[in-house]
């Protein structure tokens, strides 16, 4: 055996600032895009930045952001929940029906919505975590089932704003100290979930599972419990979103939030959450939701031909993920170069 005379080969230490910057950059770049977009639009049409204009954007983004937060939890564990849209539809309708017929109040509506959402999430979660079946297939399946159920229950009925109790409607349009409830709820949820994911051991386990499920198992991470939690949270937040939908729009038919699953996944992806799991934050996802919503509003305000809107949104989505990716690639290369400089 050779004696260990020399010191260990020096390798780069303290890449903290750079790495942290990259991690933050994901959120920062979305924020940057958002600022540019808003600034440009405001120059073209100052009314865009009026109190009403800003309030509208935040109100519109809130529901999407809530769903994106739930979806992030699931996606981080290398799973996906395609059923969120249908859960929102089901919750909005059933809750609407319940409160309008029985004349129940706010609390009952919220509890019912949460319960329905939790049950849907639980079903998804049990199928995925306990039976170990692929998430995409299962949640595509539950998407169809829940949607079918929603349509079956609704069957062409409509809940009208007039039938919805006023306290519930106030939740949708009211505010505290000038801050509307909806964005307030979304931000609170975001901060709580974000803090949990970053600062608690069990929160880190979500990332571990998505990063390498096999290693997570060997490390004794309770995979099933975490995945189940992710789905139940996603379901719960979809339940909240459903109730808020009812509160905000008042009029509800069976088709609400139809096709939103892709919108939510888009927001999450734009927000820098890796679809293959292990990477991303709820802040990014919420910002992604805000960005997508803002783009939608901006195009209307800038009087872009309605026909171009979808095309532009699609294009911007591709741009967002491409830029994100290019930044990541450049960063890896920079890290490699730094390695090189350290080496001699």
């Amino acid at each position: 055996m050779v004696a260990t005379t020399s010191t260990a080969p020096t390798r780069p230490g303290g890449g903290r600032s750079l790495l942290d910057l990259v991690l933050r950059a994901r959120e920062l770049s979305i924020l940057g895009a958002l600022v540019v977009l808003v600034a440009a639009t405001a120059i073209a049409n100052p009314r865009f930045l009026s109190a009403q204009g800003i309030e509208d954007i935040f109100l519109n983004a809130s529901i999407l952001a809530l769903l994106a937060i739930g979806q992030t939890l699931v996606v981080i564990t290398r799973n996906i929940d395609l059923s969120v849209g249908s859960v929102v539809g089901l919750v909005a309708f059933v809750t609407g029906k319940y409160v309008s017929e029985a004349g129940h109040g706010l609390l009952a509506a919220v509890l019912l919505g949460l319960a329905i959402g939790a049950v849907c999430g639980l079903v998804n979660g049990l199928l995925v975590s306990l039976c170990g079946v692929p998430a995409l297939v299962v949640t595509l399946g539950t998407l169809y089932v829940i949607q079918g159920l929603d349509h079956y229950l609704a069957h062409g009925q409509q809940i009208n704003a007039a039938d919805v109790p006023q306290p519930l409607l106030d939740l949708g349009s009211g505010n505290v100290l000038g801050v509307p409830y909806l964005p307030l709820i979304a931000v609170l949820v975001m901060l709580a979930v974000g803090y949990y994911l970053r600062s608690y051991p069990s929160g880190r386990e979500f990332y571990a599972i998505g990063s390498n499920p096999e290693a997570a198992r060997l490390a004794g991470v309770p995979i099933r419990r975490r995945v189940l939690t992710a789905y139940v949270m996603s379901g719960l937040l979809a339940g909240v979103a459903g109730v808020l939908w009812l509160a905000r729009f008042g009029t509800v038919i069976a088709d609400n939030a139809h096709g939103w699953e892709l919108k939510v996944v888009s927001a999450v992806v734009v927000g820098g959450v890796a679809i293959v799991g292990g990477v991303g934050t709820v802040y990014g996802a919420a910002l992604g939701a805000l960005l997508l919503t803002t783009i939608g509003s901006v195009l209307v305000v800038l009087k872009v031909n309605a026909f171009w809107q979808d095309a532009l949104i699609g294009f911007l989505l591709l741009l967002a993920i491409s830029v994100d990716r290019l930044l990541a690639v450049r960063m890896t290369r920079a890290l490699r170069r730094r390695n090189a400089r350290h080496a001699w």
């Binding site: 050779v2 080969p9 390798r11 386990e205 060997l218 004794g220 991470v221 990477v279 890290l335 090189a340």
Partner: protein, 502 residues
Amino acid sequence: MSEPAPVLALVEVSKTFGAVRALDGVSLELRAGEVHALAGENGAGKSTLVKTFAGVHRPDSGQILLNGRPVVFHGPADAQHAGIAVIYQEPTLFPDLSVAENIFMGRQPRAGLGRIDRKAMHARTAELFARLGVSLDPRRPARGLSIADQQVVEIAKAISRDAKVLIMDEPTAALTAQETARLFSVVRALREHGCALLFISHRLEEIFELCQTVTTLRDGRRVACEPVAGLTADDLVTRMVGRELDDLYPKQEVTPGEVVLKVSRLTREGAFTDISFEVRRGEIVALAGLVGAGRTEVARAIFGVDRPDAGTVEVSGRPLRPASPMAAMAAGLALVPEDRRQQGLIMEMSIERNLGLTRLRALRRGPFISRALERANAADWAVRFQLKYGRTGDPAGVLSGGNQQKVVLAKWLSTGPTVLIVDEPTRGIDVATKAEVHRLLSELAAQGLAVLMISSDLPEVLAMADRILVMHEGRLAAELPRSQAGEESVMSAATGQRKDTV
């Protein structure tokens, strides 16, 4: 002197996978203050035994005793709670998380309200690395770590647990002498603190250096359990293989032919700089160096996996199109990659299909793949390499680590290359097979194959190579002909203390 009671023990444990009896009535006792070695050929059941201790596998029959009391582990978490730490044969890291988080996942140091105390976590990680004599940044993500560094992180993870029992499944397979020595000093310290240790390695000299007791497995059965003192390497091999072993390094003398691989001024920023060398027909050239010296990167660039920033590669006098493994293969190159799980094999694909993957064209009849040819091809190589398997139709993932390595080797040799690059060809291979692989490489070289061998196993390098290229921090530090090569000369070049003109 009465023996201390075993901390952890297996009693008559059996475990079968389908038709394979991986463990057959095996008993084993781990005692505090003792390093217990587990020896055996590839597929003897060592890793299965480890996973039984770790709670990954549940025994079909038999018992696990913890401090003399029977226990049942329902999963790895149970075993961890019982104070058992395991270094698995294959690194199991979270690529997206920082090295420190990898080490402390699930038991991070806490600050108030149950929050993670990152500062403490990073400090403790740095401490661990200092103990192991490596300087890795605790904050860097695990993605992109070399296999060796991954192994180091695994080791750090296991020793950070302050466990009563530490089980190590081939922890040194990826390490060079230097890190191995560091690991051993840590292991000895743990032993003195009263830890019970189980150590697995195919490098027999390590067993003699480190361990007090050795248990030998053959075909899932325990054939011996005895003190290491008084045992010779030959005894151990005989117990493992059931017969005397011929020469471990059957190197044939050959006169090198014309140059077939010519690498000129190859550079890839951040990995290696200005690498030039030649390999002739019939020659075995070893590329030696410390972990992270950049050897794997050189091999990848030659084979076209990565695009070099500068420099050229010529095969048989013709320049090679960069960054295309397809072109490299067409020119007669073959690369047995370092990481067999990620790059060498498709775990869920059958053995025969894995073997056929490099020669899809040759296995055709008309436009279609011939299953018969494929099966014949697989059966042929299985015999040549004495593969231990159920059926060639079984998934490659169920093979033991060493047998997987054989499949990867066979997969590349079957392409009939003119230049064979092997990156750690005998990592995790048992002595008998190692001898087999060496004989094979040496025979093929004698038949005119040019071999470029990357290896961290110094005796192997010294015994098998006609010429040794030593890399230090991304540059060629020395070129030593067989006659001048010795442990000292290679190591001093590898550590940068000696520079020979190349």
